[in-house]
Subunit: 203 residues, 2 copies
């Protein structure tokens, strides 16, 4: 599928065929593509938890407003981030880069984030946003639909997936085969509210 | 370009042809596609500031570690978010949706975010992450390269673009025509560090 068509045809789908089983090859390909998502200093702070166990899915659904896609989709990915990625052996992020690139980036990463908890959290959310969009568009390319979700209790989900204390849950993406047609796309705000040239207008 | 190829061929490019001028039709198409990015409750909290003025670009470069792509790229987009999108007339986000969808979503949006500043900020970062990834992949489809950037002084950039007090700057994306080949892609962390099944391992 063409990239522009993938963006235009992607919709957030909530009804999935609960009997569809995603082939392992598709799952591996999705993860391979998601891992190509760019990240600040290439620190790859995103983490993907694949909820594959049926009982775990039921438990997550119970803390996610009972939304059917949690159990019915072929795959449920919980996007998390490691809040310490900036100080976990940074040289490995550029082990094959030219020396001048390594010299410029390696010493700069840890000081950029260290002692700045809001910036670290911002990067966790931004990075998982980037990764989630890659995942949803890759899914389109492999013949799937998807749904990004924030409607759940993140603390409860953190408990269910044994989230480490220095990690954070961002959002979830359900991926599967749709079972019904969807209503027309939601309203798009007009450009004058979303796109600005050079500056926001004075208020 | 195929979506999977777009994801695989995208790299963060820092050297651009400063003489290339992006056709207005490409710019319009990029924004049209970026605006299709999904958002929580379809509130479209992302805002795109197109830095087109050359002097503005120079001023931004001066607070962005003097990185050449800020002035040399054909387009520089500053991704911002409106922290009050959840309470700015929510019914308009689903004006054309079926009544049962409107009835389910409209009353739920504002209470979901109201009085939760960290959640609101998380959503700003997550949503701009999603939008930035759409923008970078759309750029590939239109024959451009791109570079996501967090290496700048967000307060200084906020001043330069007259950021409203209830908005936040997230990151920037430079888009243009590359002028040189790039070093090999940075290391990818192994699956065992990034992809987990059902739970994180006990530590």
């Amino acid at each position: 599928m063409n990239i522009l068509e993938a963006i235009e045809s992607r919709r957030s789908i909530k009804s999935y065929d609960p009997h569809h089983v995603m082939p392992e090859a598709d799952l591996a390909r999705l993860m391979e593509l998601a891992k190509l998502t760019p990240s600040s200093f290439n620190m790859q702070n995103y983490r993907f938890v694949l909820a594959r166990d049926k009982e775990l899915r039921r438990q997550i659904r119970a803390v996610a407003w009972d939304q059917a896609q949690v159990t019915d989709a072929s795959l449920l990915v919980i996007l998390c981030a490691d809040l310490n990625a900036h100080c976990e052996n940074p040289p490995r992020y550029w082990a094959h880069a030219p020396k001048e690139v390594q010299d410029a980036l390696v010493p700069a990463l840890t000081p950029f984030y260290e002692g700045k908890p809001q910036l670290i959290r911002d990067e966790a959310m931004r990075s998982t946003g980037l990764a989630g969009m890659t995942l949803m568009l890759a899914a389109r390319g492999l013949g799937y639909d998807s749904c990004p979700m924030v409607g759940f209790d993140p603390a409860a989900v953190a408990g269910l997936i044994q989230l480490p204390a220095d990690h954070v849950v961002s959002f979830m993406v359900a991926i599967g085969k749709p079972t019904q047609s969807i209503w027309p796309r939601g309203e798009r705000l007009p450009d004058r509210e979303v796109v600005f040239t050079n500056q926001f207008p004075k208020r």
